[in-house]
Subunit: 152 residues, 2 copies
């Protein structure tokens, strides 16, 4: 995934190719699962003049177009990743909020057969694994980087 690919991705989605958009794509590539603030910081390393609103807008249109995927574990702010279209899942650390990718062992569309869906038409099954990351498992003083505590 180099800048050339990004340009093609944007054009393929009928989006204009702009400096902020390329910078955001590069930032998300370099920092998988980064939140908006981190993306903004990464973007400004190369493009100091980009506004926070632009980053929100860009992440919004890229998500809608399916070029990036937005995830938001409970108690976390929105996070973004480039890995898209394979419906992989995520492990989230209850202690520090760290996120990692996980391929579900059950198959391509895990658990997509819910028993009684109450008439809902389902198009995606999203699995979030909750637990403790290696660092927090060992550490006696886990880094409290999460904004709110986990559900349990």
């Amino acid at each position: 995934m180099d800048d050339h690919d990004f340009e093609h991705l944007l054009r393929g989605a009928e989006l204009r190719v702009t400096r902020p958009r390329l910078a955001v794509l590069r930032a998300v590539r370099r920092h998988p699962h980064a939140d908006t603030g981190s993306v903004l910081a990464a973007v400004r390393v190369e493009q100091p003049a980009v506004s926070h609103q632009a980053v929100y807008d860009v992440l919004g249109v890229l998500s809608e177009s399916g070029l990036v995927r937005r995830i938001q574990p409970a108690g976390s702010v929105a996070r973004y990743e480039l890995r898209v279209g394979d419906n992989h899942h995520h492990v989230v650390c209850r202690s520090c909020g760290e996120v990692a990718d996980v391929d579900c062992a059950v198959g391509v569309r895990p658990c997509l057969d819910a028993s009684d869906t109450h008439g809902f038409v389902i198009d995606e099954a999203e699995v979030t694994y909750w637990g403790t990351c290696p660092a927090c498992s060992t550490d006696r003083t886990p880094s409290q980087s999460r904004t709110t505590e986990g559900t349990r």
Copy 2:
């Protein structure tokens, strides 16, 4: 689940039995998947003097104690339910944000065997089904009650 049960639940969790707590439990029982604002409104029907902070506190301790379960689908505010301990899952409407319970057909601990967990110690697998609720499937003008749009 009557008030007597609620009192026992609280005492069993070593929590004091107070009017606000009982009112919150009743509110969550009557309005499954309600957000904090709705719980507050329901509480104030019977206890007009209860503060919003009290409701936040109560929902917080009840969640920590496992008496209620807190869920927060991406793009939604926190929601609460009494049904607890059975690790059931949820369908969320992308259009209006409506939530319904779903029992996973795969088994009691669905998808809990992730392939490579990157050293995380996993204690829960949470499945969120995304789709369209019956009302929004039919309706030409879906109610836009969600705060932000869905991921895709």
